[in-house]
Amino acid sequence: MSVALVKEKYSSKVGEVVLGATAEQGGTRTHTITVGGDSALPFLHFEGETKNRPVIAMEVTDVVPSWNDLIKNQIGDVINNPAAWAKKCVDEFGADLIYLKLDGANPEGENRSPEDCARIVKEVLAAVGVPLIVEGCDNAEKNNEIMAVIAEASTGENLLIGIAEQDNYKSIAAAAMVHKHTLIARSPLDINICKQLNILIHEMGLPLNKIVIDPTVAGLGFGIEYVYSIMERARLGALANDKMLSMPIICTVGYEANRCKEAYATVEEFPGWGDLEDRGVLWEAVTASGVLQVGASILVMRNPAAVALVKKNIADLMGK
């Protein structure tokens, strides 16, 4: 008996965003990366095209991070040197992009100057050929200062810079616009604020194809279902031609997954949970594959072993 597949037909698609710029385009990247462009729900190849493969950005910080040793040991000595660390992520771990988090700018920490931050960005740009994502520290006011300087110092590179939030978006959106970068718009797991922030940024004059949505995610076991439903709503909006929800989505998977106790507590503490080495990898990898299923275009990850698993998962899902 033959079975006719019931296919959903959508009127629109997810917008495409290009990251990075080659020498011809005014930057120094060896290649650019295009994300988005899907015309159906993720990986339903029989309904529509999953145009661009989801990509993995590996996280690099400008100060030695307080991550668990199982991750730090894989990174090794280069953890003291953002440029060398970034190079290792690309060359050895197969990162598609580098996500540089400038925690050292935090006034409560090293309080690095904007110029110092810009220098580190330049060093990482020089060390790798892949496009770069740059985020500041956890202090909004300081971030406005450093991102303005970084944006100017890297004019033409088409960095993906972050983050713009509803109560602090104007300064960084202006920096992205003037110096031709792409912007991360972050909302706190709230589809209405997500859409409103995109509208506000777009009203300032930044084109829709220069915005990437960060919906804020959660690790496995800590509300990932809620993340899923928010992302699904955004994706269905994009496919129904809601231009203000049509941007590709970035998910800070590594940060969220590794905040979960399950990703770092030892087997001695919780004998029933099994060996931490596998558990930590799986916690990040499963969090990543969860958000992949609902349309993540850029996964920001930490654990090289988890990256390897998710790369394989993406290849399988893409059918290649």
Binding site: I191, N192, K195, I199, L200, E203, A234, D242
Partner: protein, 264 residues
């Protein structure tokens, strides 16, 4: 919610005069102004300003002068199908034919023309005998139009069923019948045909026209109305359409939803 701007119609004095004098300016003024107001399509109707033997030429002229200033697709509104066809020939974007009643002779003229020019059709739930009083007979006519679309290969998303609202001050009993028709028309096929109303008709010659239009629009959208031929420059009316979309959860809420509804 799709808004068909109603203003380019020879029944209005300025447009009637412009048509007689071949002055493109008033048509172009209203094309731009309605687009700014929130119109997605522009309805184009010569009305009685042009003698019927000159309408073929008039529709071609109207389409051309409007397209000089506006990118919006057009709704060609006439009972003279040769005039509509002349307009379709010069339309740069897929247009909509306004309109075709549920009469076999007219269906045979209009539906093949829609296929030929990749146009949509507004199908009226009436025949030679006029507009039915109740929902049941309106829906029966709608079914004939849906069957015709199926027969000629017109996709349901290109068929706009108009259950024909009459002025509330003289034909009050029609208003609820039209709402019921909208509900039932949406269940005639899967996918369902689209629905449309000539909204301003509901308030003809009533003193509180705007209020009646707004109230009826909100009610009709809740019953399944997809499009309306309406005053695209009544900001409050356009706001009602945008708000109804939100309250029916058809579009994700954002604080600036009114502005986004008008954005292109």
């Amino acid at each position: 919610m799709i808004i068909f701007g109603e203003r380019i119609n020879g029944m209005f004095t300025d447009i009637g005069e412009a048509l007689r004098n071949k002055d493109p300016k008033p048509l172009q003024y209203w094309a731009v102004k309605q687009q700014e107001g929130g119109a997605h399509y522009l309805d184009v109707n010569s009305g009685p300003a042009i003698p019927s033997e000159e309408r073929v030429e008039a529709y071609e002229w109207m389409v051309n002068v409007i397209q000089e200033v506006s990118e919006l697709p057009l709704v060609l509104d006439s009972t003279n199908y040769n005039a509509i066809e002349a307009g379709l020939k010069v339309c740069k974007r897929p247009a909509i034919i306004n309109s075709c009643p549920a009469e076999q002779v007219k269906i045979e003229r209009v539906f093949p023309m829609a296929i030929q020019y990749n146009a949509g059709i507004i199908g009226l739930t009436m025949d030679k005998k006029g507009i039915p009083k109740d929902a049941e007979n309106r829906v029966a006519f709608a079914m004939e139009l849906v069957a015709a679309a199926d027969e000629y290969g017109v996709p349901m998303e290109d068929l706009y069923i108009d259950p024909l609202i009459l002025p509330v001050n003289v034909a009050q009993e029609h208003a609820p019948e039209v709402l019921e028709s909208l509900r039932q028309v949406k269940m005639l096929a899967n996918p369902a045909p689209r629905t449309v109303l000539g909204l301003s008709n509901v308030s003809q010659k009533s003193p509180d026209r705007n209020l009646i239009n707004r109230t009826y629009l909100a009610m009709a959208i809740a019953c399944g109305l997809d499009a309306a031929i309406m005053d695209a420059n009544d900001d409050d009316l356009v706001d009602v359409a945008a708000t109804a979309q939100i309250l029916l959860n058809r579009s994700v809420y954002a604080d600036s939803y009114l502005k986004v509804f008008r954005a292109r």
